[in-house]
Amino acid sequence: MKNTIRVERAKLNISQTELAVKVGVTKQTIHSVETGRFVPSTVLAMKIACFFKVRIEDIFELEDSDWK
């Protein structure tokens, strides 16, 4: 699953640490999500979307490999 968290962060000019604090996880978790190494839970995905005031599907997008 790919995502545009990095782009959204850049728009608001906030760091991974700031986002992590806002959604209640560690900086490492945000980094792992951004790089696609960790797929967040629905709750965390919704928190991230809420924080950026966008819909989940505007940030997270399924890839072909997710269907296999």
Binding site: T26, Q28, T29
Partner: protein
């Protein structure tokens, strides 16, 4: 798990580090210059007691949460535990098999089999309770009707109970 505290908070990790450090220092001291604290115990018992204290400290570290325990940490922890328990049981089975085949009973194959068997039986019991009965696990959804769930999966419970009883009887008969 509902009603059960499976992890201590971060203070448990700090306490575990202190206990493990003290225990390991005692192990080194007991190895270099044995000394007795309890009259009823000999030097060897004191040495093993020090090692036991160290392992208790490690246990506390292993079952304590990180300062910031989020879903990624939980996932890594579950994966690590799964891998390590798998390797440990594999090691126990390999050692016990070696002991049985070469007839070296200094390896105490019966104890190794019993330990591996108990691990697996308890794991399977707890896992199946969570999977089919949902007595202990709490989901964010509404209550799952336990009786209905048992009725729906009665054959699974029957098989699990029979297999568990059989394995436990086997283990006790070996010991």
């Amino acid at each position: 798990m509902r009603g059960f505290k499976t992890m201590y908070d971060y203070r448990g990790k700090v306490a575990g580090m202190v206990i493990a450090a003290v225990g390991s220092m005692l192990v080194i001291i007991q190895k270099l210059a044995p000394f007795n604290v309890f009259r009823s115990m000999n030097a060897e018992q004191h040495y093993y007691l020090s090692a036991w204290i160290t392992v208790v400290g490690l246990f506390s570290i292993a079952f304590s949460m990180e300062k910031h325990e989020d879903e990624r940490v939980k996932k890594i922890r579950a994966g690590a535990m799964q891998l390590v328990i798998g390797l440990l049981i594999g090691l126990l089975l390999a050692l016990s098999f070696t002991g049985i085949v070469i007839g070296d009973f200094d390896l105490a194959p019966e104890m190794l089999i019993a330990i591996a068997g108990f691990y697996l039986v308890f794991y399977l019991v707890v896992f199946h309770i969570g999977l089919y009965t949902d007595i202990l696990w709490q989901y964010d959804a509404d209550e799952i009707p336990i009786v209905e769930n048992i009725k729906k999966n009665w054959w699974v419970h029957l098989v699990v109970v029979i297999v568990m009883m059989g394995v436990l009887l086997l283990i006790f008969s070996i010991i």
